[in-house]
């Protein structure tokens, strides 16, 4: 018997990405640069988050031409983003053979109440989370991989740090609790009880959790790894920097050797100006992508 789309195959795919860097790309050329630099996967997009932020308006799934171009350009896995709750965008990406779908707050949500029922699909999904409640709800819906939401397109690591610390702290709390306290914690977090029970038993999330949203330097990537990330997504950081190729390689190495500070010092030399970045306090509530989804 041959079974496709099993939980093990979907979650396992993300396990293979651990310790790696997933890079946003907008065409075949960028995808090839990312692959050569050692990216473990690329995210095919029409615009990187900082440009989506600058452009305003409604951000949707990328033009399938771009996704196809990237699929044909590289041998590493290709991810693509669908709007939160947009069943058809997700099915279209699945039909195109995309390896992983990001149900992403970077795009304008299609549904403000319901996220996708991700367990229904053969293709695996990654979703953003700010805390353990949100993370557990996404797992409950069938997400095979998580990432921090951070604040995409800002080049500011502060929100990703907040979300990673929050989730790690809440996991430690759940692990330390006695089982008879868990239902109340589930109620408080808005988390499925079964997911919390599993986290308590295993001492960790049942899926891989990457860092995303604001990683702009090799030191940022290494910081997220130290805080417990299994790997990192770099969106605008790479191809908005002065020397994307060098920058991409430096981020990959800093992620592998996140505790080798001399190496990170070497890697960080002469990288040129990273993306300018945005102070989160200057963003109005409506401009914060992390508030999208629940």
């Amino acid at each position: 018997m041959l079974k496709t789309g099993t939980e093990r195959v979907k979650r396992g795919m993300a396990e293979m990405q651990k310790g790696g860097v997933i890079m946003d790309v907008i065409n075949a050329e960028q995808a090839r640069i990312a692959e050569a630099a050692g990216a473990v996967a690329v995210m095919a997009l029409e615009r990187v988050p900082s440009d989506i932020r600058a452009a305003g308006g409604v951000a949707r799934m990328a033009d399938p031409t771009i996704v196809e171009e990237v699929l044909n350009a590289v041998s590493i896995p290709v991810m693509a983003k669908a709007r939160i709750g947009h069943i058809v965008e997700a099915r279209v990406l699945e039909a195109m053979g995309v390896d992983y779908i990001d149900e992403s707050e970077v795009l304008t949500p299609a549904d403000e109440v319901f996220h996708l029922l991700k367990s229904d699909y053969t293709v695996p999904f990654v979703c953003g989370a700010r805390d353990l409640g949100e993370a557990s709800r996404r797992i409950g819906e069938g997400a095979s991989m998580l990432r921090t939401k951070g604040e995409p397109g800002t080049g500011n690591i502060v929100e990703a740090v907040r979300h990673m610390r929050m989730i790690q702290g809440q996991i430690r709390k759940v692990v330390a609790m006695s089982v008879d306290e868990l239902m109340t914690e589930a109620k408080n977090l808005g988390a499925p009880f079964e997911v919390l029970l599993q986290i308590k038993k295993e001492g960790k999330l049942p899926v891989v959790n990457f860092a995303a949203g604001g990683i702009a330097t090799p030191a940022d990537a290494a910081l997220m790894m130290q805080l417990g990330a299994d790997g990192v997504f770099v969106g605008s950081g790479i191809f908005k920097s002065e020397n994307p190729e060098k920058f991409a390689r430096a981020i990959v190495e800093a992620t592998t050797h996140y505790q080798d500070y001399k190496l990170i010092a070497e890697l960080s030399k002469g990288l040129g100006t990273p993306m300018k970045g945005i102070d989160i306090s200057t963003l109005a509530q409506s401009e914060r992508m992390q508030e999208r989804g629940w």
Binding site: M1, L2, K3, T4, G5, T6, R8, V9, K10, G12, M13, E15, M16, Q17, K18, G19, G20, E35, A36, A37, G38, A39, V40, A41, S75, I76, P77, E94, G97, V98, D99, Y100, T122, V123, P124, R249, V252, E253, T256, H257
Partner: protein, 194 residues
């Protein structure tokens, strides 16, 4: 106690560490060339072979790994199998070139085609759940290579001397028989040297 390293440049390292420990050996994650010298055997995990190769080159791991393999056992799963092959279909060059075989990358298709299937593995046993994730398979093998398992007529596990490889991910299951098989290989190799 036997000490087995897991190459930890990228990929599913933790799962292999757990499986090795469950098979009665000590497991260590290996990130530096110097760490190879204290090992009795090495596992090359699943992950992205292109990403691993770039880091292998960057940290001058290629020659030390080839040297290590001259007298110590090596076990590669998925991307690790690709790193061990002498020939890769559609590519002019291979990586460590340890096993006399030709492999095809992503040979079963994209992620939506990833699957689980029951396998019979010679010398290991039946009903082994093979977890194939964007997996490669072995197209052909040289005369020195022993075929351990096939799925739909495609070679998915093989052995040549001290080298063991699998196109699937035994580390993603709780079935440690294949890891135990490798630990036994490491034990035998150590006894021969002693």
């Amino acid at each position: 106690m036997l000490k087995i390293g897991v190459l930890a440049l990228q990929g599913a390292v933790r799962e292999h560490v757990r499986a090795i420990e469950a098979s009665g050996a000590e497991a260590v994650a290996v990130k530096r060339v110097e760490e190879l010298s204290s090992l009795d055997g090495l596992v090359m995990p699943g992950g992205e072979s292109t990403a691993m190769r770039r880091l292998i080159d960057k940290y001058n791991f290629l020659e030390p790994l080839k040297e290590f393999a001259q007298n110590k056992p090596v076990f590669g799963t998925c991307a690790g199998l690709i790193l061990m092959a002498k020939r890769i279909q559609g590519q002019d060059s291979a990586h460590l070139e340890l096993i006399d075989m030709t492999v095809e990358r992503n040979a079963f298709g994209r992620q939506v085609d990833s699957f689980e299937a029951d396998l019979m593995i010679h010398g290991v046993g039946e009903d082994f759940t093979g977890v194939f994730i964007r997996a490669p398979f072995i197209v052909e093998v040289g005369p020195e290579v022993e075929i351990l398992s096939k799925h739909n007529d495609r070679i998915v596990a093989a052995k040549q001397g001290n080298f063991l490889c699998a196109a699937f991910h035994p580390e993603l299951t709780d079935d440690y028989r294949l890891h135990q098989y490798f630990v036994n290989m490491v034990q035998s190799a150590k006894e021969v040297v002693a």
